[in-house]
Symmetry: C2
Subunit: 252 residues, 2 copies
Amino acid sequence: MIPPTHPRYRSLLEREKIVEGAREGYVALQGLIAQGRGECFDYLIGEETQPFAQRAIEAAAAALLAARRPVISVNGNVAALAPGDVVRLAKAVPALIEVNLFYRTREREKKIAEILRRHGAEEVLGVGEDAACTIPELFSERRRVSCRGIYTADVVLVPLEDGDRTEALRKMGKTVIAIDLNPLSRTARAASITIVDNVTRALPRLVEAVENLKKDRSQIQDILARYNNSAVLAEALLHIKTRLEKIASEML
Amino acid sequence: MIPPTHPRYRSLLEREKIVEGAREGYVALQGLIAQGRGECFDYLIGEETQPFAQRAIEAAAAALLAARRPVISVNGNVAALAPGDVVRLAKAVPALIEVNLFYRTREREKKIAEILRRHGAEEVLGVGEDAACTIPELFSERRRVSCRGIYTADVVLVPLEDGDRTEALRKMGKTVIAIDLNPLSRTARAASITIVDNVTRALPRLVEAVENLKKDRSQIQDILARYNNSAVLAEALLHIKTRLEKIASEML
């Protein structure tokens, strides 16, 4: 039991959820390592949603609402950390939900789909025979996606995705929205819209942004036209740099 | 199979070793998360041993050689990443080796001791009934240590240790040498000597430093008197800050 007064309460709670997901067999062991990397970058950005992330969240909401076929990709870590937010977002847009695993096994697919259904998802793509289409330029199980989902999507939200796959989806001409705490990762650089934030903070804000923008859709094209992902990434890096300077000067 | 030409070859290989250790049951799931945090900080320091780490390594060699009862603490991650280096270091000093786990189970203790013996260790403390002494101020299984080892040690090397335990060992009056990639961690701040480096790079260098210093022991007291851990930590932070500035400016 972690006391809620612990300075790292939220971070420790997320860690517990991921470990629990690994024990239940749907979070990959590599997903635990990815969580650790994320913790480090979250610490560096200050464990709060920063203005550059909020701008990306608003652009992401606009892209999802402007899409013809928006799809939300879900892996083990996302299912462990924010299953309810994924379902709420899918309903708000509306968007399809697809299980999309780097280390794909039938057991993991099924468990993740089950978790999403338990949180209210009606349909979950990418399970078993449904993942019959392949992304060009990728190898083995990593290239399999649903023909009705990511394969034909025009906008894909990939919270916590790897660089190869993000690049491959971009080469297919899709708009890719990534949520990645590391502004230097290949995923962050390859995505069309990069939300540099913790998925557990970003997804509820994205639901809120979608709800707000639905009330006045006339802003959608403006938001997309104004959005500059390189500027957002540069701002994230400068923010980390400034924070480190401050931490360093306090220590000296 | 990871090709040796892969830009992240070394980092990916270490990741594989840790995942394998988790599959074999001696690396804790939380150890995978810790590895991920380490990867992030290693990336930030540039994945090379920096001058501030080398200075700490030399001080660590001096402290180990000056000790009456030096002990090397080994957890699952260390056993997965650098078992041979631990044994080489123990023989060079000479120092005792003790299994010391945050998530202690008899099975994990035994597996880690077995790995160390396979790499040439003669005696491994801290297994089963041997871990009968308790560190004050700590709770549950985390406080158990060997009465002949960490409990009575004057100098303890803790590669990859948590903050609570490092602080408790310091309060017991021990000299604590930590290897920690995060110069901001509580472990890094609480230790007497903090080697801000990857354990897989630091341990072979520490063996080398011990071998060199054994040839001229007259330097030991000088090295210890000159050493300033706060200055080393501040230098590590400034190094990361400068690296981030460079990365940020290349992106802009």
